[in-house]
């Protein structure tokens, strides 16, 4: 079985995130880059499936040069090979453009299963897995808290607000996973050293046969008109309890139309 895991480098989850003044895109230089946390679960799930069923795990990313660190991290966890789509013309791509680029790269490589983390911690849109599935014409079985592959079928438990749904699809398919699914492994010493020798294919937009007109900030379907820093936190309202604290809070909440 050939499994692709799509990963994204994002600013460190705990770092303050900023937009750039010149083009209103995320300032990726302002914080350390890390592998999107949910993508670690996706890598782990791919490794487990490959270990259980046999097969190869290829990690795919689109991002600036330093996103190669994220590919290497996935390789150090145990993935077999990497594909890194890197090109200045990709800068500013929105979810639609990202899904186009990823779908083209994936389509050219015939995977049985494509796994994503269910969202990234920077953009938090959760749409790229679905868009990629649509572009590839594959079933999308997303928000999985459990994944099983049996022959030509993939069965997942889709996490819902009320519990989970059992969803099945024929392979090839696109899966996205939630953090409940597993405990990602720590890259081991041997994994880290082995990662240095694993193949990573670096592609430009031209190498991947992509249409540059569909990529980048100019092709985006949305534009950031303006942005402003979050205002400093205003002082809260203090309700002093003089035996009537409950009533005062209720009045306050009603006034604020919370209740």
């Amino acid at each position: 079985m050939k499994i692709a895991v799509c990963v994204k480098q994002v600013p460190d989850t705990w770092a303050e995130k900023k937009l750039r003044d010149d083009d209103s895109t995320l300032d990726r230089e302002a914080a350390d880059g890390v592998m999107n946390e949910l993508d670690e679960y996706a890598v782990e799930e791919a490794l487990r499936l490959a270990e259980a069923n046999g097969g190869e795990v290829v990690v795919v990313t689109m991002g600036p040069e330093r996103a190669a660190e994220t590919v290497r991290k996935a390789l150090s966890m145990g993935a077999d090979a990497g594909v890194h789509l890197v090109d200045d013309s990709l800068h500013g791509s929105d979810a639609l453009a990202t899904s186009y680029a990823l779908a083209e790269v994936l389509a050219a490589r015939n995977f049985d299963l494509v796994i994503f983390g269910s969202e990234s911690t920077d953009a938090r849109m959760s749409v790229v897995p679905a868009m990629v599935a649509e572009r590839l014409g594959l079933p999308q079985v997303t928000f999985a808290q459990k994944v099983d592959v049996d022959g030509s079928k993939v069965a997942i438990q889709r996490q819902t607000e009320y519990g989970y749904d059992d969803v099945e699809a024929e392979l090839p398919a696109v899966v996205s996973v939630v953090e409940k699914i597993n405990e990602p492994r720590y890259p081991s010493f041997k994994g880290i050293m082995a990662a240095k020798k694993k193949p990573v294919e670096t592609l430009t937009v031209a190498d991947a046969g992509l249409d540059a007109a569909k990529l980048g900030a100019t092709a985006a379907w949305t534009k950031v008109a303006s942005f402003a820093a979050r205002p400093p936190k205003a002082a809260g309202t203090v309700v002093t309890d003089e035996g009537d604290g409950g009533a005062k809070i209720a009045t306050y909440l009603t006034e604020q139309k919370f209740v």
């Binding site: 290497r72 991290k73 150090s76 492994r185 720590y186 890259p187 081991s188 010493f189 041997k190 880290i192 050293m193 240095k196």
Partner: protein, 385 residues
């Protein structure tokens, strides 16, 4: 010593493991007076942390010494010194001689599973009547056919109640007696052997989450083939093994001291008195700066020592000096941390009191300050060997 991207990636793995698998449980382990060594060592084994520099043929990583340095720096961030000490026993105190001098069979049977974290081991040198004076030990192993029969008691044994095997220093030459340097051997003793028992678990001032035991050997029979390397060379092998122990112990202590200073600095920044943060007080700034400078100095010496160790140069001098100096420094650092935290520094509910108790061991364990001074004296031609 040059640390590469791979060293830093390994650092991230160890850091995450400390944050997720160790620190959240340390209060519980401290209260219990023990930590689950088999469970934790299996996790460390899975990332290759237990066998970094050992031969890949026996489950090691063939790593350079920089990885051991990084491992110790990160383990120094543990919220109690007992856990890193216990890990260091496994990686750098009980196993170096076995890896260097042991037979292939011994290494397959004992070293390999230990590096995977499936077995826990201890180093047993000190005795109730012989600690710093290693040549004073009296535990003996008497030849009987193809076996040695071991009798004696060992003291202060880290991991002692949980170990699967012991790297034991005993007298194997019947003519060798307490006071002699010759006639000792290092022997692998399985703790499942009849006649082996844990005499008692010792209650300690600090490092409470690490179990420390007195071990009893009452006619314990092990095959002669369990001797590590050449019989009679045990004292020399152990002296070499002590260098690993002291270097790693010093790496851990320096890292712990730096973290204690950082945490104290943050506390002084947050806490206000007399209308401003305590850290605005220059007297406190300068005291912390002085201690940071001392930490930097020893850190520099250790990096130099680590580099020389990597090059195969004997580092007895550097390891002894660093061990001595860091032992004294952490006592000063811990005292300053307690003082600057005021009442909270004296309360068990913050980290400081535990650090104060744990830090005291650095000047005692792995060769007391006085032993380090003795080594340095002899190297300078003073005193007799």
């Amino acid at each position: 010593m040059k640390l590469t991207e791979e060293h830093e990636q390994f650092r991230s793995s160890v850091r995450r493991l400390v944050d997720e698998e160790i620190n959240p449980f340390i209060d519980e382990w401290e209260a219990a007076g023990i930590f689950p060594a088999h469970e934790l060592f299996a996790k460390l084994g899975s990332i290759g942390a237990l066998g970094l520099e050992y031969d890949a043929q026996f489950g090691g990583g063939d790593a350079d010494h920089g990885f051991t340095f990084v491992l110790a720096e990160e383990l120094g961030r543990c919220d109690a010194a007992g856990v890193p000490m216990a890990i260091a026993v496994q990686t750098s105190m009980a196993t170096p001689a076995l890896a260097r001098y042991g037979s292939e069979e011994l290494k397959r049977t004992w070293l390999e599973p230990t590096l995977r974290g499936e077995m826990v081991c201890s180093i047993a040198v000190s005795e109730p009547d012989a600690g710093s004076d290693v040549a004073g030990i009296s535990t003996h192993a008497t030849l009987d056919g193809d076996d040695y029969v071991i009798n004696g008691r060992k003291m202060w044994i880290t991991n002692g109640t949980q170990a699967d095997w012991i790297c034991l220093l005993a007298r194997t030459d019947p003519l060798s007696k307490p006071g002699d340097y010759h006639g000792m051997s290092l022997i692998v003793v399985p703790t499942s052997s009849p006649g082996f028992s844990v005499g008692r678990k010792i209650e300690k001032m600090g490092n409470r989450c690490s179990d420390t035991a007195e071990l009893v050997f009452d006619n314990v029979r092990v095959p002669v083939s369990n001797v590590i390397g050449e019989p009679g060379r045990g004292f020399q092998q152990q002296m070499a093994q002590f260098q690993d122990e002291r270097l790693v112990g010093a790496y851990l202590a320096v890292s712990g001291a730096r973290r204690a200073l950082h945490r104290t600095k943050e506390y002084l920044q947050q806490r206000s008195a007399f209308g401003k943060p305590l850290l605005a007080n220059q007297a406190l700034q300068y005291r912390l700066a002085e201690l940071y400078a001392d930490v930097d100095t020893i850190d520099g010496l250790l990096r130099f020592a680590a580099q020389r160790y990597s090059e195969g140069i004997d580092v007895t001098r550097e390891a002894s000096v660093a061990k001595l100096k860091v032992g004294r420094l952490v006592r000063e650092v811990a005292d300053a941390c307690v003082q600057f935290h005021g009442g909270m520094g004296y309360a068990e509910e913050m980290w400081v009191a535990r650090y104060f108790r744990d830090a005291r061991l650095v000047s005692i364990g792995g060769g007391a300050d006085e032993v380090m001074l003795r080594i340095i004296s002899m190297m300078e031609g003073m005193g007799k060997k």
